[in-house]
Symmetry: C2
Subunit: 238 residues, 2 copies
């Protein structure tokens, strides 16, 4: 474990335990240098982590303070997909997948644009319904380039695609761009999510990238309006 991470962890715990009370000032950076036997740059790196996490803020010329709402920021609970950190949220719940469609074909124009592939490349076209505790929660329509993620089969689909990518293919995730909208249910939604015409769906259209920026998933997921929601945390950088 690196020094700056250890220092950040120690300070984080002190905030959580109330040793540094909410809205109080931290000791100045020189004092922290002495206490942790570290250079000022290392202290500053530790503090930057906690600032990014919403525990601290600092004012030049004044000091570093504990946020009034420290630790109140919650992680995602998008029930939508398998993006890292999401499947764990479903831990303890029984998740099942029904495969409605699984073919390999050439991409449409929109898929070429989103996945940066060529028109004569091959892509997977996958449609699944996900059930949690026996209830249908979401319909996922997933497009992935075969060249980037080889070896997908029904066995993989019924478990975790993301686990396969990370553990079997040894690839690292990079980032994700989402567009979230409310939509009227189409025929498929009404059939599998048991929607009436008045029950809206929450739609998430997203492109997921590997660490090097290669897009590997373009997907559209639809949730029953009463079985999901997306939490987002933004931080404003001054």
């Amino acid at each position: 474990m690196h020094k700056y991470k250890r220092i950040a962890q120690t300070i984080r715990e002190r905030i959580q335990e109330g040793f540094y009370p909410l809205k109080s000032a931290l000791p100045d950076q020189m004092k922290l240098c002495k206490e942790f036997d570290a250079s000022r740059i290392t202290i500053k790196r530790a503090l930057e982590i906690l600032i990014e996490e919403g525990y601290l803020y600092s004012r030049q010329g004044s000091g570093t303070y504990v946020m009034k709402n420290a630790g109140s920021v919650n992680a995602f609970d998008s029930l939508a997909d398998e993006y890292p950190g999401v499947t764990e949220q479903l831990a303890g719940k029984e998740v099942e997948s029904e495969i409605l469609k699984f073919v390999i074909r050439n991409p449409l124009a929109k898929e070429v644009e989103k996945l940066l592939v060529e028109v004569d490349d091959f892509i997977y076209d996958i449609k699944r319904v996900r059930y949690v505790n026996g209830e249908s929660i979401v319909i996922e329509h997933t497009i992935m380039p075969v060249s980037v993620i080889p070896g997908i089969n029904k066995e993989v689909l019924s478990h975790s695609i993301y686990g396969y990518i990370r553990n079997e293919l040894n690839l690292s995730f990079g980032g994700i761009t989402r567009r979230i909208t409310a939509e009227k249910p189409d025929e498929l939604d009404r059939k599998y999510l048991l929607c009436t015409k008045e029950d809206p769906v929450l739609q998430v259209e997203q492109v997921v990238h590997l660490k090097d920026g290669t897009p590997f998933e373009y997907s559209i997921t639809k949730h029953r309006f009463d079985k999901g929601g997306i939490n987002v945390v933004d931080r404003y950088h001054n």
Copy 2:
């Protein structure tokens, strides 16, 4: 302008102009030190900015590379609210506000929890319809503590609350937590957003904080499903 920001800007432009082609390797950090006449730490800070922005990624022992999708991440265009960066997106369009409700009262239990105020404090209770180019786009229900944001009046409401907070009260924004859901339209939505019972609304429930973590806004906004959407960009930190 600080040195590391200038260096980051120069490299960003080189990527945008194709001087550093997509997926190519950048010169190593020592070469960049010499070119920009800077220390390695300063170079590294510049690179970290661009990594955070999705232009670059680096692999220890190997090098720093241009992302395959560099610059393809787009900023927000949430039509929902006035959070910094959003009103500018509406620039050029005619935005009007109709005030449906504007009172001062004591907070409800949920508002006490979200805004960290006391039950005998006072809060503004504001309901507005926003029109863009004469079309109703969104209904906003906003709760703010009077003690944190004093001096709100109809004059302020018909312009930008956020501009007032930043420019008149001289406060800095810190962060925001949102929950996004799809909902059935209620009576008010149907009346002002001209929804039928089958037209869903996209609801954003959010708490906005000042730089020091003080919550200053708890709001619920509802968009017509065909007049809005939220874009979100996440980055996965390995």
